[in-house]
Symmetry: D2
Subunit: 347 residues, 4 copies
């Protein structure tokens, strides 16, 4: 059985685990002021080409989104996003819990289009009743999106331009950032650091046991960020548990970071999977995803046979006899698994 | 240098770390539905003698307090506690952030006295304007308290009786529970399970890298607890990271759990420390604490010499020439360290 | 100049004002426990045929919506509504401020369609990730809608059936209820009282200086409602100021209440307005509204001439040469004004 | 029976009611943009000697406190006040509902002492764990206090100095401001406008049917205040209902405003009441209040006889045979009533 259900069903990447073991007995400061966290911050700043970046380590993605959004918005502001965005659908209302409206715009394979954003903002600012509406304060996007798709560098620049024009912050949720950066597009950490006002580098889905790194790339964090994080219940006493992991993830092996390598391997295997499903088995892609989340249209008649060999997720029905399914590679997927799958399914 | 500043400056206890390593490559369900978490729940239920207990694993203490309190209180209810309580002083307003008032009563060496509670409740219920006030919905206590002191079983039973009489929930914050249970008092996990409506078993300060176990001992959790936890940003995708650690902490070695052993060792060393400071060096205790947080009154003239050998925390000035200081043992403190300290200070 | 901009630009109906004057010197209890409020409750219960109804008087509509919704939903629940709903667009995020997500479904001329609701609920309950989503707890509709349209009694019954099937509350915002009840449809206060779980009877837009009456028609208000209202800042010390006005609005003049008469007059004049704009001047309706908000498509070339005689609101452009405009009658609009308008525009 | 239970059991002062009647048929803008509100703002600015003051009209006191406090504090800040403060005791947690901690300091006959404030702030800023605590952002006082006492101008200046030194806002709740200004002290509206950062002028308890005027005396309101007020549900569509009343209250009759006259009459009668109770009947004052709330110690044996003639409130028991009682004069109390009382009780 090859498990492709999701990218958070294993422990940590061996390199991350090893660093947890080797630092375990070192005594350190608490609440993020430990040597591992400071070293991780230094490594992340270097990878981002952002020497002034301020960085905090939190435990999980929903927590990070709620804490960041509530920390940087004015009380009367809301956050614009694609209707499929994680904060709009799958965070149990964590953002609204902090008092802020999530304002969905139509998503296009998970992406927010700059034309939709511009049209919405123009209409809002032309509306005489705007003061009675929730003021837009932020654009939230995910990279990669919930549907595995990617923005190009130009698309991000355009979104950032619109944000600056209208006084909005651009926030990028990078829960699966490793896979997005490795997928052959033109978006890099330095590019993200120059277009986004805030982003987070996902750990949980990219090789860590837990943890995400929030980056304010231009030293632009709001005042008393530690108190804000604490008030959200997001401050770990032993914040080092995340710091140590990011230290491992951003350490360099040759020219690349472990974070790079984790992304590359998962993408390489995702592309082999696509070769198998689309090229050899002739299934159509449901969404044309270049990242570790792959979506194919499977004839219902084939589902049972696939289930014998693979764990995967049913996404949605396509028609009476076809179903869209999601197959996810991760840092924990191996070449051997994919090779075996090829043998099993083409045989 | 012997470090007695606090109990959250190391990684994890070796037994906990080992279990993280040995389970790392096992694939599991996410969001707390993994085999390790289910086994940990079973072990905790057994240790508590509470077969119907419902248990969730969260990442940290402040998060746990805010999530629990907001999940079980009605919107118009507040929480009563000692004025020194962690939720009243050191959580950056995390409970108020969820909309609930923290109502402080006078603490007595960190403890809430049943007489104060009764008097306050009687006055509240006799007040004609009660409907204009925050309704008391919960009593929050810590075991051990922030000052290292302990309630007796009888004191807990009395508090619980008052709570039942007035329709309040009794919630016990057990951030340092291991040390409280091992301190020679008459409070046990089964006793806690019978008197408290909710309590949490602290991991972070008692040998885990991170994590706390929330226990609803009589199957009395509110509906949709998973959604509530998620909405607070407290649900880890890889919740197993905490589950695995509690599985280790509640595994038995001989008749005792690792959690018991961790508590015992720290208490034994804390008592040796007391023997040294009070018995041999003749310092007076500032608070008579039977647990791992020890408070002594140190002549200011001796502070510099102590600082050469020990890391500790200044608590507060006592008079012009004396200072109360806190010395904390933990699972990470060793016999060798205390023996060395004895040699250094009595020599 | 005839003012048809909106229905909240005057003071109070003469009958309401008179009652404020004649009761002014009577000393009474505060916080809603005064004789006028109790009499108003009795009159409203009679008008609703709901002897067990619980009724509170609040100052304004947004406040009422936020207070009601937050009082009856569980913390993890959200509220479903049409995308054009007042709570989704024009309350500056007051509902989200209380921590609840507003979940918009497509509106059809301001109305929520039972088919859309059913489809959404079926999809939600079929979703494996439902516990990670905001749970639907309420359906919010307005009667009349923001676009002047009305539900039929059958449509309301169908919505109520779906709500009961899925365990949702049905809440009806009646900011302009007087105009909806008088518009010749088959919805009455007793019908509303039997299908809705909560509704409010609008005062501010229907002849009062301020104030709305929240009705829990079957004695189904949550516990400690007074404290909940107070906590939202919605409890007036002199709550009688609203009670007195509703006493006047629900006093009977012949067989009808003043509230009935206020609605009827505005609707009669709205229909004369439609006769003038659609029948005589040949403008097309933009929305076919049977209530006091009328929407016509005006050739841009005619706008200036209209503006000489009438105050109205531009709604939205229709095409390059036409604009949809809103004309609102109210209890303050007079026959003389409409007659004069007819003369001016057809002359 | 002479009613001295409280100052919010009548309708409006005749002069306020008359202005509501005479403006009733004038059509106006909504949401506070009406001619009456603008004129009221002008009159208040003149009375305050504060030409740059920004002023909003809200419906009630608790709403005003919650809206103001949440609008000006940073999310992680709390508000310091006396333990007897209205926001700490009698607002059902409305401030905590907005996410902010209310931090009580010991009250001295209802007043916050500058020495207590300084000591608390010094301790907070010396605390190494301050970032884990709620940061103080505001000092809230009431003028007069809940116990009828008054700050002197010098005391207010001292409080303001401490606030400026520590970066706190000084907010004055003036629910009963008319009575405080008329009580012969040295505090005036211009003084308040120079020392306070925000204050509100109470209407409800000082002659209005409802309504309070929030003043930012130096044009120092936060951005988008209208949206903030709306989000709190505190924006009346017919905000003019409050504007008209404040226009009446701040219109001048001879050199004095109606607000002055209302205060003076109530204070004059309160002093006559004191002459009767303390001077003639020999009762001791419970608190030495110079304002319209009078507190006397009544022998229990006399309570029944008093109750035959007067409505009043039992405040608290003093000893086995004496009870502290509160007697409140207001704009609605008449000379004839007090004269009659003198006759009845001294006879």
């Amino acid at each position: 059985m090859i498990h492709l259900e999701s990218d958070y069903n294993n422990g940590a990447h061996a390199g991350v685990l090893q660093r947890l073991v080797e630092t375990n007995d070192v005594r350190s400061q608490s609440y993020g002021d430990d040597e591992f966290s400071w070293n991780a911050r230094k490594l992340i700043r270097e990878a981002c080409g952002a020497p002034d970046a301020q960085i905090w380590f939190l435990a999980g993605g929903t927590q990070t989104n709620a804490t960041v959004i509530n920390s940087v918005l004015e009380s009367y502001e809301g956050v614009l996003c694609a209707d499929t965005a994680h904060i709009n659908v799958h965070e149990a209302g964590a953002v609204e819990f902090t008092g802020h409206k999530v304002i969905p715009l139509p998503g296009h394979e998970g992406k927010l289009q700059v034309a939709d954003l511009k049209a919405w903002l123009a209409a809002y600012h032309a509306d005489d009743t705007a003061e009675h509406m929730v003021r837009p304060g932020m654009v939230y996007i995910t990279f990669p999106t919930e549907l595995g798709t990617l923005y190009t560098a130009d698309e991000l620049r355009e979104l950032a331009d619109v944000c600056r024009q209208y006084g909005l912050l651009l926030y990028v949720d990078g829960a699966r950032l490793a896979y997005g950066l490795a997928a052959g597009g033109d978006v890099t950490l330095p590019l993200l650091s120059s277009v986004a006002d805030i982003f987070y580098i996902g750990g949980t889905k990219c090789g860590a046991l837990c943890g995400e790194a929030v980056v304010f790339p231009r030293g632009n964090a709001p005042s008393h960020m530690l108190s804000r994080i604490k008030r959200h219940g997001s401050l770990l006493a032993k914040s080092r548990v995340v710091g140590v992991q990011f230290e491992a993830l951003f350490s360099r092996v040759g020219g690349a970071t472990l974070y790079d390598l984790i992304g590359r391997q998962a993408i390489e295997l995702a592309m082999r999977l696509r070769g198998l499903f689309v090229g050899k088995l002739g299934y159509a892609p449901y969404i044309d995803s270049p990242t570790n989340q792959q979506f194919y249209i499977i004839p219902n008649a084939d589902l049972a046979r696939l289930r014998e060999h693979i764990g995967f997720e049913v996404w949605c029905p396509v028609d009476a006899s076809h179903t869209a399914c999601r197959f996810v590679t991760s840092w924990a997927t191996t070449e051997e698994e994919i090779a075996e799958l090829e043998k099993l399914l083409t045989h």
